[in-house]
Amino acid sequence: MIKDLSVMIAGKAGDGVLFTGNVLARLLKRHGWEVVTGRDFPSNIRGEPTRTTIRASLNENYGPGDLVNILLAFDCEAILDNLPLMAAGGTVLCDGEVVVTPPRDQAEGKTFHKFPLRAMAREKFGHEIFKNMIALGALTFLLDLETTLFEEIITEMFLRRKGEEVEKKNIQAAAYGYEKAREITLARERLPLARKEDGERLLLSGDEAIAFGALAAGCRFFAAYPICPASEISHWLARHMPQFNGVVIQTEDELAALNMALGAAYAGARAMTATSGPGASLMMEAFSLAGMAEIPIVIAHIQRLGPATGIPTKTQQGDILQWVFGSHGEFARIILAPGTLSECFELTTEAFNLAEKYQCPVVLLTELDMGQDYRTAPRFDLSRVRIDRGKLLTQEQLLGIQDFKRYEFTFDGISPRALPSSRKGLHMVESLEHDESGYRDESESNRMRMMEKRMKKLKKASKDLPRARVWESRKAGAGLITTGSTLGPVLEAAAELRKKHVQAKCLQLRTLWPFPVHAVKRFLDECDRVFVIENNCSAELATLIRSQVIPLPEMVSILRCGTRSFRPREVVEQVEKAVR
């Protein structure tokens, strides 16, 4: 029985590649499989090559795999680029005018079928749009999936939104594709998948998990400017916020987005914004204001490939140091980096507490492949969501206080907070250096105390932050340090390395700032060789570690400077080479 496979859907922008892949992902998930999609898109609405790869496993599923077992292409030319990725024994189905002859060496061991999806759709169902359902039907056959489960999904998608007729026609198209595949493929090409209970599991994107986490955590004000790959957070919240009495504002730009969110947070909302690449640079000024005025704010940054406009549809981890060291002046900030879908949810809910407890900006730093790709995850546990608003005072508490000072010097640096309209809470929020009541004060003595007050909040916070996670507790030959969505390939690589008798353990940094010095030191002590694995060109994570941990053993950086995330093999090979 097959327990792990990858299906690639390829075509041109506008072909419905993403849709097809996402439906297949859902279908596999309903069969109890762990699933992750891997989209690879151009930054153009139409006409350029596009693909998505669905990785599915019966048990653990860390992320995109090394090879593809089935390739379904809406355009036969697409197979040429993708053949090198195909596993031996793979099957290729393709549609298109052009007849393509793959190079002999790459074609060996693979089976090719011309599968005229468009023609079938046109002829049998009167419109090319049905090509995607036919394709999915064919895949359902190839993977020996339950047609009833597929029909269920089709009904969910179409019945309510498009009516019965559309639903039916789609079911028919799926059935047609199923039969056609049976006709043309060979029995040995079929991959009979093992099954499991779907259970309570979810299938969603990181952006959705963040949006849902925000809603659960009481975020009631979200302001953002559209940008790939963060917009989905905004779109999702726009649909659900009203039910919770909250509001989503599309601002005129990113400067407005963060400033507006700061105004909202000051006035009492749990507020958030989300952005990427150039938008993040535009937020640097107001980021500094949040630090100075100690306004709790959550900023989600879904990293795309830079610099400048870069490649908006490709993933990277090239913005780590900007958040740690960027913006003018010095102030307290917290930077969290979820590495799994569940953490997207959990760290988001936690981010709002941290922002309010430590009255500082909290950045939720993730990547395009985490934000936009779909993954399975256990159902989110809402009973574990806590709301802690820190030292926010109620009207009653304020009335009981003698001389409220918004920026009072306290032992832990955290001052009481009052919302505008509160009686006895009147104060200033000041972007200039200010005194305990918030009024401008440029004296050196005040400045020194205020800086110390604002900075020391992080000392207390360090104990309260998402801890670095260690996989495998024994002493190891190879220690792999990573963060964010690179975790998936690294964990898979570690498992692979262990199979090859390289004792590998992993450290996942979930808080990047304040930097978890002790956790890293402890990990370093337990490893013979250390590797820092990150999806960027200039070793940002390694640079950060070096700047914070002293003394430091030698570390080897494993980097990717391309347009996608790591494949496990790429990590395995480099570690092996160094260790052997």
């Binding site: 009203p242 909250g246 507006m260 105004g263």
Partner: protein
């Protein structure tokens, strides 16, 4: 009605004679006339001499970043519509670096009163040219005279579909107080450009100059602030500058339109986890 003194926190350190004193006075008077509790008012200011207003006017205050008063004010108003939110900017703050935010706030018609203290210079930074500096004027940044054609806030606000467009003069604090009060009572975005001499750096647009070059539209026999083309015309007059309420129109305000429930300010909504509803939403992810 309250006393004007209610809002007097401290005596300003603006240069003696600065137009900002008139604005400060007018603001206190307007607040007094409205009988506002200082705790129910938030004054959001820009960066510039005008930005010191928070130090003197007693209320909640937010002195943010240069040019960003409007997004901040909008965020505050949406989260707590019961607050009276007043923006105070300068001509540099509102018409140069903040021009985009200003006009977007205008078009959204958020219920904010926005006072732009227009001294036709960047005064706090020592008197550089601003977008309202007159063509040809010599300033520290334009030693050979300004070559930029000036723009006027009220014209732009009208073009961006402003529902309340006015111009005051800081020498006429009483009239300005009247405009501010009217602006606060206006449902939606009320914009007031205030002609306000900078006595230190602007030796051209002085009190005397303005007295010579302005006229009160309230005194024009057939002027009505309900007529947009009239407003446009009077704003495009080359000879003299119109002071007064130039245009007003009724239109739903942004918070009415976009908030699910203006009576339940987001600021005070109960945040306890609404598990039942969230569990139902989570079903969408299955």
């Amino acid at each position: 009605m309250k006393k004007k003194q209610t809002y007097h926190r401290a005596h300003p350190t603006w240069c003696p004679g600065c137009g900002l004193f008139g604005v400060f006075d007018a603001l206190k008077r307007a607040a007094a006339n409205m009988g506002l509790a200082p705790e129910d008012v938030v004054v959001v200011t820009g960066i510039g001499c005008h930005g010191r207003m928070n130090n003197y006017f007693y209320s909640y205050g937010f002195h943010g970043l240069h040019g960003r008063a409007m997004p901040v004010a909008t965020g505050i108003k949406l989260v707590n519509p019961k607050l009276t939110v007043i923006g105070v900017s300068g001509d540099g703050d509102a018409y140069s670096i903040g021009l985009g935010h200003f006009l977007h706030a205008v078009r959204r018609n958020v219920d904010i009163t926005y006072i732009v203290v227009n001294n036709r210079l960047y005064s706090l930074t020592q008197g550089q040219m601003s977008p309202t500096t007159m063509f040809g004027m010599v300033t520290i940044s334009t030693p050979f005279g300004s070559k930029d054609f000036p723009i006027e806030g009220p014209v732009l606000a009208l073009a961006a579909r402003g529902t309340f467009v006015a111009r005051g003069f800081s020498a006429e604090a009483g009239h300005l107080a009247f405009l501010i009060e009217k602006g606060m009572r206006h449902k939606g975005f009320a914009f007031i450009d205030v002609l306000s001499p900078c006595v230190t750096y602007n030796k051209l647009n002085t009190f005397e100059w303005y007295k010579k070059n302005t006229f009160m539209i309230e005194k024009e026999p057939d002027y009505s602030p309900g007529d947009k083309s009239k407003a446009w015309e009077i704003l495009n007059r080359d000879d003299r500058i119109a002071v007064g309420l130039l245009y007003e129109e009724e239109k739903p305000s942004y918070e009415e339109l976009i908030l699910p429930d203006t009576d339940q300010p987001i600021a005070f909504v109960d945040l306890s986890v609404r598990r039942k509803e969230l569990e139902i939403i989570m079903e969408n992810f299955r």
